[in-house]
């Protein structure tokens, strides 16, 4: 129980060990299906059996899993005349046994977690990345804030006050913990369900709401539909609607960081559905070839609007796809704030120190509808939604853990919630009452410098509006 106190980099080391072994093609010693791998110093090097009932480290499981499915033991034993095929790309051992790598999996890649559903640390769990009170309380507060903001803004859309909204219910930990594990110099390329990350970095409630209302105080100058946040100041690249386009962009950005030798990385988010896009292949493949420091975080929430993952891919989720590109990958419980925090910390360290991409698949069910244009009860059962909403809520889970540490109380909870609600209501009221962007902003930023035709057109438009004021809505500000 007190193991959380011991600072450890066990997780990082395991992943590092895994990646080292994988990369250099060391098969280690294969004797009767046992696999030897290096563990953290001080612990006797363990022989991991092929059937591993009580091995509790992700790395070893993953390692054995991989070899199990591709049956390398057999290959080594049946090596054909000790000859290798010398082929572009590297030497490959021959075999006389015709063996197909199985397309299906007997055992799925397990999911890394730190907390149980009850919010308590897993008994006999391995060491995890420590989180102090200040960090934990900020993580928790931001998760609550996100939940409340989503609730209010969804309602606002329903009331017709904004045109569109997307909630992050069920995925609060996935995005906020990820952001918590990064530094402010790491560049985030979101898909569209990561306002949690932006919230963590200091984007205010007023700024969020202004964007949704598209008023003159919106940092985006009212150019984009709601939830398409962007802030250079917070190193959060503006949300772009086409799916997965941010993945090759992330590889490109990471390449630039690499050329500049910066101590930071790029983090690109994608959903389970987005992994079907061609850009997913291009982005991951390129990042691996260019050895770019980028973390690909796939928020597998089970649904791409109404398409379940069973219709999206037939692989063991997304985590196994990383290996196909030579990218170290991990599957993590996206509802577990500590697990996500630890995994991203480790991934970041790997990405920057080893200058390579990393793939993290976070499993966290999408509790809300895809967006305000969707009614998910049409394609999934109410029971399923309810189960994940109540029994598996990441915010409640983390709250329990924070409370267990004596860092949070009922009083704090009440104060926080009422404070956020008040701020939010005020923000919405202010945003709604704020003027829309002035006419000038229709014409700026098309190019670096305004082209002559737009300058002329703006002049003409102003003249027309002035002359026929009654034909134009009153919220077309000419200032």
């Amino acid at each position: 129980m007190a193991s959380w106190g011991r600072r450890s980099s066990g997780m990082v080391h395991h992943i590092k060990a895994l990646s080292k072994v994988e990369l250099r093609g060391k098969a280690g010693e294969m004797k009767g299906g046992w696999w030897r791998y290096p563990v953290q110093p001080g612990v006797a090097s363990a022989l991991v059996p092929r059937s591993w009932p009580c091995v509790n480290t992700m790395a070893s499981l993953f390692l054995v899993q991989r070899f199990k499915s591709s049956l390398p033991q057999k290959q080594v034993e049946d090596d054909d005349d000790d000859q290798d095929l010398d082929f572009p790309g590297g030497k490959v051992a021959y075999t006389s046994e015709m063996e197909f790598i199985s397309g299906s999996y007997d055992k799925r890649i397990p999911c890394y977690r730190v907390l149980g559903d009850d919010g308590e640390l897993i008994k006999d769990g391995s060491d995890f990345e420590k989180v102090n009170k200040e960090l934990a309380v900020k993580m928790y507060s931001d998760m609550v804030c996100l939940q409340i903001m989503d609730t209010f803004m969804y309602e606002a859309q329903r009331q017709g006050r904004i045109s569109f909204y997307m909630t992050s219910f069920g995925e609060e930990a996935a995005t906020i913990s990820s952001a918590a594990a990064l530094t402010k110099d790491d560049i985030i390329l979101p898909q569209y369900r990561e306002p949690g990350a932006l919230l963590w970095r200091g984007f205010t409630l007023q700024e969020f709401v202004n964007q949704c209302f598209g008023n003159k105080d919106d940092g985006g100058k009212g150019r984009q539909m709601p939830i398409h946040y962007g802030s250079r100041k917070h190193n959060f690249v503006t949300v772009s609607s086409p799916i997965a386009t941010q993945l090759p962009q992330a590889a490109g950005m990471a390449y630039s960081l690499k050329m500049d030798k910066k101590d930071s990385c790029v983090v690109a988010f994608i959903g389970d559905g987005g992994t079907s896009e061609g850009d997913f292949h291009a982005g991951l493949n390129f990042a691996a070839v260019m050895e770019a420091p980028v973390i690909f975080v796939c928020r597998n929430n089970g649904w791409a609007i109404s398409t379940p993952t069973s219709d999206q891919f037939r692989s063991d989720g997304v985590v196994v796809k990383g290996q196909a590109y030579g990218i170290p990958s991990i599957r993590v419980d996206g509802t577990d704030a500590l697990a996500v925090y630890g995994a991203i910390r480790a991934a970041r360290s790997m990405a920057i120190n080893e200058q390579r991409p990393v793939l993290v698949e976070s499993l966290a069910y999408r509790v809300g509808h895809h967006s305000t244009s969707d009614d998910s009860t049409k394609y999934r059962s109410l029971n399923e939604i309810e189960h994940w909403k109540t029994d598996r809520d990441p915010v409640n889970k983390f709250r329990k853990w924070v409370e267990l540490n004596g860092w949070w109380s009922e009083r704090d909870e009440a104060d926080l919630r009422s404070s956020i609600k008040k701020q939010l209501l005020k923000a919405i009221q202010v945003a709604e009452g704020t003027e829309k962007p002035p006419l000038t902003e229709l014409f700026t930023d098309v190019y670096d410098l305004p082209p002559s035709n737009l300058v002329e057109q703006e002049k003409l438009l102003r003249q027309t509006v002035n002359k026929y004021l009654h034909d134009f809505p009153s919220d077309v500000s000419l200032h």
Binding site: G219, G230, S231, S256, A282, Y447
Partner: protein
């Protein structure tokens, strides 16, 4: 095999262009001649030397020295960090280039031909062109997309389309199309230095063409303004607008028309977006007749936009309807005789000019 066929075709069109090259009156007195290929190569070299943020990406640009040898010698000079051979995914490397540009580098992305850019067009339009606007000026994209555009010779439908009109319709992009070596150098340098995304449409058949260039053009600081057309040849009876390879045709046409007493003014557009409406309109107000020439498909083409601009601004100056010469409204056929019928020929332009000048001509088949 294709290369041999191509050379033969090149020989044919070379014959057509050569006389046009001899029309020196609009060029500054020049001693040196360089090919368009050399012009592009030297422009890339100088810009990469001047700005360490400039780098090249594309299929075969490095080790192979460029599919059309435009990037010859650059890998050797600048190394693999600045000349990147990419895997075959236009969508992929275009996205990567855009991402690098978001961060502040200045990529020059080569498409083996702009026909393949369609596989990346989402990144060009939605990730590059619109980003500055959508991000309210926070994300600028100083990227250049370059490569051969339009019909080559004997390469069929999927290798011959002209994309000038497609890209030029999108706000946020700048679209340039050089004709001769001076254009190639000046416009490519301008494109690389420009903070906005630029689509740079070259022409495969012009790569090997030599044009005279002055010392000013050869200077490393040489740059042409974006958005300014060039009057290649002055005239008083009709205005012919063209870009890229068709400029050569237009110059040949103007020579032929002179024999019939028609003095045509030839405008090399250079910049498709922004279109130099001022120069075009000023010319039409002088000559009162307009013939637009392009290789691309007629509907919603560059000529259509020029026509609209002239009708809007200089309607009362027109003495005859605008004549639009464009490629045939069919996917480009392969067979040499059919291909010849599918692209504008000098004779088509001559007939159109004569029609505009009320000369009686046998009715040509019109689209």
């Amino acid at each position: 095999m294709l290369a041999i066929a191509r050379q033969r075709m090149l020989g044919q069109s070379f014959k057509k262009i050569l006389p046009a090259v001899s029309v020196l009156r609009s060029y500054s007195s020049a001693a040196k001649q360089i090919t368009v290929r050399e012009a592009l190569n030297s422009a890339l070299d100088e810009e990469m030397s001047a700005d360490p943020k400039v780098f090249l990406m594309g299929e075969e640009v490095g080790e192979y020295q460029g599919a059309y040898k435009i990037t010859k010698g650059l890998l050797e000079k600048y190394g693999p960090e600045r000349v990147l051979d990419t895997p075959i995914t236009e969508a992929g490397f275009t996205g990567i280039g855009v991402g690098a540009a978001y961060y502040g580098l200045k990529p020059v992305v080569e498409f083996m031909t702009f026909n393949f850019s369609m596989q990346a067009i989402d990144h060009i339009i939605n990730s590059a062109a619109k980003s500055n606007y959508m991000s309210a000026g926070q994300i600028s994209v100083p990227i250049v997309f370059r490569g051969p555009n339009g019909a080559a010779a004997g390469v069929g439908a999927q290798h011959s389309q002209c994309y000038a009109a497609w890209y030029a319709s999108c706000p946020g992009l700048k679209v340039l199309s050089p004709y001769n070596s001076e254009d190639a150098r000046g416009l490519l340098k301008a494109a690389i230095r420009d903070p906005d995304p630029v689509v740079f449409l070259e022409n495969e058949l012009l790569y090997g063409e030599s044009f005279p260039v002055s010392d000013e053009v050869l200077d490393s600081s040489f740059c042409l303004p974006i958005g300014k057309a060039k009057i290649e040849r002055e005239g008083k009876d009709a205005t012919i607008t063209a870009f890229s390879k068709m400029v050569g045709y237009a110059l040949k046409v103007s020579e032929m028309l002179e024999k019939d007493g028609i003095y045509a003014e030839v405008i090399n557009l250079r910049s498709i977006r922004p279109l130099d409406r001022a120069t075009i309109n000023a010319s039409v107000r002088k000559t009162n007749r307009l013939i637009t020439v392009e290789e691309g498909f007629p509907q919603h083409g560059v000529g259509a936009e020029i026509c609209a601009s002239v009708v809007e601004e200089s309607f009362s100056y027109l003495d005859a309807p605008v004549e639009r010469i464009a490629g045939a409204d069919v996917p480009m056929p392969y067979a040499a005789n059919l291909e010849r019928m599918a692209v504008p020929q000098v004779e088509d332009i001559v007939r159109a000019a004569k029609r505009a000048c009320y000369r009686s001509v046998p009715l040509a088949a019109t689209a």
